[in-house]
Symmetry: C2
Subunit: 110 residues, 2 copies
């Protein structure tokens, strides 16, 4: 793991509800979050099931990272994604759980 390549991550105390909601209003980004929550494990960027191109997916990962929703780190050449669920639930209690629950019951967005 190369610390020098790890992108910056915000402190969740510095992220507002508005930024988190703008990240989560996008159905592709909610798909990323739901897949992380369902897997209960970190997922490589290339291993998500997403209906967009790789470059578009990279943009979505960046928006989620900058909103404090996911943490990204490298293992070798793989960029991994972790859901910051505990931190998010501390900053916005119940929000992530409500969205994941609603998404699980919603029709597919692809």
């Amino acid at each position: 793991m190369d610390e020098g390549r790890t992108p910056p991550h915000p402190d969740l105390a510095q992220v507002g509800l508005q930024q988190v909601l703008e990240a989560l209003v996008d159905p592709v980004r909610r798909g990323i979050v739901t897949q992380l929550a369902t897997a209960g494990a970190d997922i490589r960027c290339g291993d998500f099931d997403l209906p967009v191109s790789k470059s578009t997916a990279t943009h979505h990962f960046k928006v989620l990272r900058e909103a404090g929703v996911i943490r990204q780190y490298y293992v070798g050449t793989s960029r991994m994604n972790a859901l910051r669920d505990t931190e998010l639930d501390g900053a916005f209690p119940g929000l992530l759980a409500a969205l994941v629950t609603a998404e699980a019951g919603a029709p597919a967005t692809t």
Copy 2:
């Protein structure tokens, strides 16, 4: 109360998470929802504390109504607004409560 003037309201079973989130991602609309939740009572359109013009506010009320978040009805010449909190919590458990809680702890959006 004039039923003929009551605008149409969707069945929440027909409203998707995407439409509800697009309604609630706007800070003015979250302000309307938070004021209704805090008041615990229905509020006249003219009695909200909103940082926008009357015509812009009318648009925001319409978006919330069409997303199933509020119910609008007339009492005399006053258009009243009610939060569909029980129905929303049935369709998207915990979502409204999480947003109202987060909004209460967030800095003012005005």
